[in-house]
Assembly symmetry: C2
Amino acid sequence: MKKTSLNDIANKLGVSKSLVSLVLNGKAKQNRIGDEISKKVINLAQELNYQPNQMARSLRLGRSETIALIVADISNSFFARMGRAVEDEADKHGFKVIFSSSDENPDKLGELINVLTDRQVDGFIISPTINSNEHILKLKKNNIPFVLIDRYLPQIKTNYVVADNYNSTYKAVKFMLEKGYKKTGFITVSSALSNMKERLQGYKDAMKSYGLRGYGNYVREVDYKNFNEGVDEAVKELLLPINNLRALFFASLRIGMEAIKSINDLNLRIPQDVAVISFDDTDAYKLCYPPITAIAQPINLMSSEAVKILINEIKKKNIKTEKTQIVLETEFIIRESCC
Amino acid sequence: MKKTSLNDIANKLGVSKSLVSLVLNGKAKQNRIGDEISKKVINLAQELNYQPNQMARSLRLGRSETIALIVADISNSFFARMGRAVEDEADKHGFKVIFSSSDENPDKLGELINVLTDRQVDGFIISPTINSNEHILKLKKNNIPFVLIDRYLPQIKTNYVVADNYNSTYKAVKFMLEKGYKKTGFITVSSALSNMKERLQGYKDAMKSYGLRGYGNYVREVDYKNFNEGVDEAVKELLLPINNLRALFFASLRIGMEAIKSINDLNLRIPQDVAVISFDDTDAYKLCYPPITAIAQPINLMSSEAVKILINEIKKKNIKTEKTQIVLETEFIIRESCC
DNA sequence: CTGAAAGCGCTTACAG
DNA sequence: CTGAAAGCGCTTACAG
């Protein structure tokens, strides 16, 4: 059973396919097409269960109504929730989403951008990896609409939507200090990504503002490869009695998840032996015993804003030079892991 | 800067675009095109950074090299991991993935299938919702390749890849019984889905095999709407002293996550006050204190098998009537929540 | 008010 | 060995 095309309808009705196309696209009125014939067309289309071939439509129109979402790893809870929110917002505008994971690898990111550009996606939402300037610049040069999310590239003027990483961390660390945890360790991933740099800076400035010194020794930057082992080691080192640390701040969800496992393995109790706060919130943190104090990013808002900016740029063809840059507040959720 | 097309290359070289197309598709040899001209074409293509318009190619070829993944909710950890695994396997075959969430709503599923068919996806991987027979049958009737995943529809002969829900549950419940928990409760979602029915049956048969009776009273089927409240209530009811239950089995990840929160809220200790086992494994379960005993589905394998079956069917155009049906073993991971 | 034609960018069977 | 042509299914400017 072949799918019915515009031509099938036109032939059966003895009219041209132009007319059918016009009617079905709701342009009958403005082209002064007769009511009677319009109705006939619409009825037959329904009867034959006509579904326009979007591929042909896209080719003709030069747009596919598909956007690409490129994140580090869609199976990571943070990005999975982003994926869902992007899907829902895109759906409101009639757009579909192709998703891809870069694994924080700039080469893979570049390759994905190429392949997806060939496929004529109308635009991109991207969590840029390190060293991805070249690929993002190419996108910009080629006038392909895109929005960065979660992180931005300070050297390039682009649209972006990110959380207020600096202030969130600053305030959370301050909270710890005020609870009396003067010696708070900080575990992060070794990265030049804007979000991670800002979180680290927030920690440092909070410590400094409290007149503390020597906190550089309480920072561990884990390598992205060998991630889990790195976190385990960092936890063990920092919690060595000699350091006398009573609190730890985890700079991301993945770090927090692994670090809490490490703490459990060391048979240390939270918060009695060590208080903890994590950047990013997740269901798992609510279900921990005790539940983990966390900084929740507004994932839904972040995602929907990104989609709106993107689709707006896609629709008004010629891309403006002014860019939309949004920094969103986070929510500090106090639970029992730090009190 | 317009993208370079086949024509641009042909014109600059003074040859026909047929020739260019043939060369670029590696069919120069079999069409006896000269080496010299071939090289020229390839070089110029590279120089102009030629990227074929996949939309045009798809229209011509009648295939898009895109597949659709429809699950209940891509932000759910189980499906997010499935998404990632599907992406990776599809990538190996040069396919991209569009993802969509049905929210377990058959109407939404039907709508998604329609829209994505219009967009000429080459095939579907679907976690069917309840009452979705009609939509799946339509897919079948229209000869559109698809594979069901995680659940199947007993009334329809289709490709599917699922876990061995019945035996996994049977064995896990048996394990509890052997540990001495004669009165084990079972919390599931009220659903006619094959996977949920099989899990319930596994529980019942395990209880029966142990000569137990009256276990019907220890089963709670929560409504999909009002989910969290339903689970909370089920936990509270079952753990009423009058029931004297010392163990609970959770039939899915979402149930387990919520139920453990409820148990924490009741200030009951795991496993001293109540032992628990959950279907599905997740990072959160490892990080719980104590870690949760769980049945891990082989998500990666399940996903890659589904993709392989699908792409195989897409490639050998005429769809065979015999279908591939795979039931995969699960892994029972014993942690401290039940011992 | 309606139809014929061009064209989006590609591939492939056909002719020479 | 290579080119001209048809056609995938659509939309839209143009002609009448």
